[in-house]
Amino acid sequence: MDFDLNDEQKMLQETVTRFVAGTYDFQKREHALRTPEGWSREAYAGLAEMGLLALPFAEEDGGFGGGGVEMMVVMEALGRGLMVEPFFATVVLAGGVLRHGALAAQRAAIVPGIVEGTRILALAHNEKGLPRHTLTARTTAAPSNGTWTLDGRKIAVIHGQSADTLIISAMTDKGLSLFLVDAGTEGVTIEGTRGYDGVPIAAVALSAVTVPADALIGADGQGEAILSAMFEEATAALVAEGVGAMAETFDVTVDYLKTRQQFGVAIGSFQALQHRAVDMLMQLELSRSMAILAALSLDIDADQRSRNISAAKAQIGKAGRIIGQEAVQMHGAIGITAEYKVGHAFKRLTAIDALLGDRDWHLAQLVEKRGVYPAAT
């Protein structure tokens, strides 16, 4: 049993934490949000320079072969900075699909651009009128003469507007399948907007979009297997981002309690607030424990892995609400102004719960499996 980072992981943590603290303060983030794309190419290039965009990819694909702990360390740091750049969209979501499903030739064509930071990918999977986190789609893909023709509509496509390449989930005769589609392909319409958390999202319409046979990721009908494997890893990563965002929210709140004066004293001297700050700390530490559990679960047997990851996401959903709401409340009116960091952290924590299955969704998974713990032996 060992909960310490090894030397390389510590170095990674120091590097990325220093980068976020040094180059991505709240004003820089605000500035990035106001640009047309809504995020900073410069900051993203910084991530590429540090090699972070190569992190999870296999060495033969030009990556570092980093595992769950390395991803946790990076996501926690990005969470602290509330970074809106497409690391999660491109490296974690789309990159995860490529790692779990793409053929070697497909990876060779795409991964180098991801690693360099020059190619942005987005996963277009969610649809209106379907369960909010599901392994199905209404979008269709029909084969004809060595091509596929896609039709359908996708929503909440994270970083869809900036994407060079979309990964589209669609039903074929053999079930859910995944396709690589260049954003400029005829029949693709992308309508970008901003999520409440500041992260760009898009609606993607596909109208008779024709792509070549080698656009199919892996094999026909493999989409469910690929997505479910990727979603587990991505959930572990999102949990770690949540811990970073909570830690930052908590630290900012405790600082505020120490500096904000009312009734002639720092408001942190009031026991009503002290105890609630301690409640926040407790949720943060429980969440940190679960982020570690999730990160260490990626290589264990499938049944226990999914229990652990669902438990972690359920914990983060609860803790994110408690910490986010309490942080806003303890700041008073400043907590609900757009120019202050805490409100943005609260919004990102809300989005983190909503993405990849919220607390209720993961609790339902655990009910299905009769709990977090394996049946007594």
Partner: protein, 395 residues
């Protein structure tokens, strides 16, 4: 980072498990499963079995009968004890006065008390709280006035657990009222047979008699029964309340109760007690509680791992008592919900239930009621939060 115990730790777990399987008497195991009230004899009998194995006082220094175990071994031992339905022994002997004697006792005191304490040849009770000194323990007023070779005690202690069985008391008494309230407190040992001591029972909401009032009326205690120096008792008390944290969240107990809940969930679904809707709701509640238990377990393990290389204050450690007690209470609350109206009947200590599998029904509510104490004693959870706010957050 890795979650697994080492092969040595796993072997240790097997050794503990095998020992408990053989050594724990069946009647005690059954009482624990049924949440029956343990008698003094039950506790003594089990502690002597552990003591014969060298496992009664494992966290004492080795020279006084402890084991040179790692934090992980301590954690494993406590978890296995709970999962095997083994009683915990006397906390007053094992966790409180024993470590204090090891740290602060004179050679003569160690000689007189330590072996007898480990074996519960002496049953100790703790004289700390007073009617006006609960969370604000340092405001205690029971006086110890020096008179030649003796202190003369006058005043009252309250909530004194098991005082009716106790051979000796360790307690805090005021020898000086002139300075700060933490000064002038002295830690004394007293023979409960000393003239002038009166023990009065307090019945608690579980219908049991564990708590007492203890009155002192010119009780003469020899000066050599002091622990540490006169006026320095507060430091001794802080040591007593502070040290051991490898098992503070009591994960094993909560896991044992969770397995009971899971067993009841199946049984009550099978026999028609729970409707389908109730089964669905219960499954959801159990999933929620398991998420929190898993998170707490991992947090405890983080502290165990940190303690293996020195430990020190950390945020994870500070939350264990508060969250651990809340978890234990939540488990008893859920069992009580399941007992429903059948659980209104109180346990009958003289007659075992006709169906031994039904003992849990009558025990559920009293156990729920009595477990409210765990967030009150040893520094209430509110006091714990005050301490965390001050020491961890700097508020």
């Amino acid at each position: 980072m890795k979650l697994d115990f080492t092969p040595e730790e796993t072997a240790f777990r097997d050794e503990v498990r095998a020992f408990l399987k053989d050594a724990l008497p069946d009647d005690l195991r059954q009482k624990m499963i049924n949440r029956d009230h343990l008698t003094k004899d039950d506790t003594v009998r089990w502690q002597r079995i552990l003591n014969a194995r060298g496992w009664a006082v494992t966290h004492w220094p080795v020279q006084y009968g402890g084991q040179a175990w790692t934090p992980a071994q301590r954690y494993i031992f406590q978890e296995e004890m709970a999962l095997a339905h083994a009683p915990e022994g006397s906390p007053f002997n094992v966790n409180m006065i024993g470590p204090v004697l090891c740290e602060f006792g004179t050679d003569a005191q160690k000689e007189q008390f330590l072996a007898a304490t480990a074996n519960i040849d002496i049953w100790w009770c703790q004289g700390f709280s007073e009617p006006g000194a609960g969370s604000d323990l340092a405001s205690l007023k029971t006086m110890a006035v020096r008179d030649g070779d003796h202190y003369v005690l006058n005043g009252q202690k309250i909530w004194t657990t098991q005082a009716q069985h106790a051979d000796w008391m360790f307690g805090l008494f005021r020898t000086d009222s002139s300075g700060r309230k933490q000064q002038g407190i002295t830690f004394l040992l007293l023979d409960m047979k000393t003239p002038g001591i009166t023990v009065r029972p307090i019945e608690t909401i579980d219908g049991e008699h564990d708590a007492n009032e203890v009155f002192f009326d010119d009780v003469r205690v020899p000066v050599e029964n002091i622990i540490g120096e006169e006026g320095k008792g507060w430091d001794v008390a802080k040591h007593l309340l502070g040290s051991e944290r490898s098992g503070i969240a009591r994960i094993g107990l909560s896991k044992e109760r969770l397995s009971q809940l899971r067993e009841l969930e199946s049984r009550l679904a099978r026999d028609g007690t729970l409707t389908e809707e109730e089964q669905r709701r219960l499954a959801h509640k159990l999933a929620e509680v398991e998420v929190e238990l898993r998170a707490l377990e991992l947090t405890q393990l983080r502290v165990v791992a940190a303690d293996a290389h020195g430990g020190g204050a950390n945020a994870a450690a500070s939350i264990l008592k508060v969250k651990g007690t809340e978890m234990q209470q939540r488990m008893t609350e859920l069992v009580t919900e399941l007992a429903g109206p059948a659980g209104l009947s109180m346990p009958d200590h003289d007659h075992a239930p006709n169906d031994p599998g039904e003992g849990w029904v009558a025990a559920a509510a009293p156990f729920y009621f009595t477990m409210r104490k765990v967030s009150i004693f040893g520094g209430s959870n509110e006091v714990q939060k005050n301490i965390i706010a001050k020491t961890m957050l700097g508020l």
